[in-house]
């Protein structure tokens, strides 16, 4: 069986006495799509940060593309290589782009970092990426402040893809978008997956988005992994109490919010 493109075992993160992530493990097969679902304080974003190297694990292992990345990269070459393995798209389109760079400049910088290509080839690649994410030439030469939230997210996706990663982490990447724009970006992500056989890790609190984009799911609560399985199965037939609660809290026609015994936790 081919090695999974991402494998996490016993991952742990402590901040002093606070345990943000407690023994989390999962695998993502090549071309697969995994959702990490949870609410605030679940630790799902911390897991994402550890996988891309923005946080250092307190324990456990992370393997991506067959190589261990549980400890920080030791050389510039290592860092760049890891950038070509796993990339990330953040939530807020308004702060995830350098306000002083056009899309063209941002992607050119990434291409120069990873490949020693001549300018002509870089230009072609930028054009290809723009096509892939649905932006025209005028938009690639515009500064972020004249672009809408949806357009900026497309730029962020293109920038992540410029490194040609095998795993793309989407950290609440559509949460800040209007519903109609969200649909466009979700379709775009599905198209990208079809065309490039890239694997996704989708971090989200939105169960409908997760159902649309993923086949596998893990549910986190207060740092621990409480349920895992196939997305459709877990959402249709949740086994754990927390998953049931999560499922039951999603508004839909005919839904009536219910009060639980309130915990006045600060």
């Amino acid at each position: 069986m081919p090695e999974p493109v991402l494998q996490v075992d016993g991952l742990r993160k402590e901040y002093g006495s606070l345990v943000a992530v407690d023994g989390v493990g999962f695998t993502v097969p090549e071309g697969g799509s995994l959702a990490i679902v949870g609410e605030s304080g679940s630790g799902k974003t911390t897991v994402a940060k550890m996988i891309v190297g923005l946080e250092r694990p307190s324990g456990g292992t992370i393997r991506a593309c067959g190589r261990d990345r549980s400890t920080p990269a030791r050389s510039a070459r290592d860092r760049r290589r890891r950038g070509r393995e796993v990339q990330i798209v953040f939530q807020d389109p308004y702060t995830s782009l350098d306000p002083r760079q056009t899309m063209e400049q941002a992607i050119d910088e990434v291409l120069r970092m990873h490949h020693g290509w001549p300018p002509k080839r870089r230009k072609e690649r930028i054009s290809q990426l723009a096509d892939l994410v649905g932006l025209d030439a005028r938009q690639t030469r515009a500064l972020p402040r004249v672009l809408s939230g949806g357009q900026r997210q497309r730029v962020a996706i293109a920038r992540a893809l410029a490194a040609e990663p095998r795993v793309l982490i989407l950290d609440e990447s559509v949460a800040a978008l209007d519903v109609s724009i969200q649909a466009q970006v979700l379709n775009l992500l599905a198209d990208i997956r079809d065309e490039t056989a890239i694997s996704f890790v989708v971090i989200s609190h939105d169960l409908a988005v997760v159902r649309q984009l993923t086949e596998q799911i893990v549910v986190m609560w207060r740092g621990k992994l409480v349920e895992r399985g196939e997305t459709a199965e877990v959402l249709d037939h949740p086994q754990e109490d927390y998953t049931k609660l999560l499922r039951a809290s999603v508004p839909r026609p005919g839904w009536k919010p219910e009060r639980r015994i309130s915990v006045a936790a600060g």
Binding site: D92, H114, R145
Partner: protein, 288 residues
Amino acid sequence: MSVGAGLATGAWRRYRAGRQRRVSPLLIISAAVIVAATFVAIAGPLLAPYNPDLPNLSQYFVGSTPDHLLGYDAQGRDVLSRLLVGARTSMIGPLGVTLICMTLGALLAVTAAWRGGAYDAVISSGLDIVFAFPGILLAVLASAVFGAGLVAPVLALSVAYTPYVARVLRGAALRERAQPYIAALEVQGASATAICMRHLIPNMLHLIIAQATTLFGYAMVDLAAISYLGLGIQPPAADWGVMVSENQQGIIQGFATPSLAAGLCIVVVVVAFNILGERLYERGEARR
């Protein structure tokens, strides 16, 4: 970051940003003053109608005449010429302080903000200690120890001002560092130096420039005060601070022009720099 915040506040953001667009006349005037002062600092000796150093004691404190618009000073020298020539030393000192401070301050601020942890703690504490020393005091001390001239007070003021600059820039650097686009570059594998030089600092540039202009103003006042006290630039050099001091007698005697004219030059340039700094910062912020 609250989910959906972009939806609700995007319209407000665009509305607020749009309101800053017009260029204020005050900004243009300030910029003009600074350009004029710089020009005079460079070309002063060529512009001066008379020899600024030639004393003529028979003309002691004579008031304004048609060919000596600002009159004569305590030593019978043409006030206007001395002002024009004095611009050079009056501006060069603050320039030196500004360049040294901004470079040192930015370096300390950005490295402390980037590395964080113990490194940041040590630098911040060190800066806090230096903070305790008022600039003028250090400058006086330095002049007393190392003698007259511009070098000692400039270096002393640079040391005294650096913590001020570093603290402000560190705050901005920390804010910028926390932005996702910096994280995105780290994930791409860019080195810390590349990120700081090509992204972090350029995005703080409007603040750095604004700080520099404000600093220039403070340095100018402090250095003028040093010269006034008889340290730093010495008479008979034509320096605005020196001119205020050596012509003080004139105020009591009814010939306020020489002293006040020099003082006014200082005030006008400092205010112009302050306004410029403020407006540049606001415009920079609105652009984001």
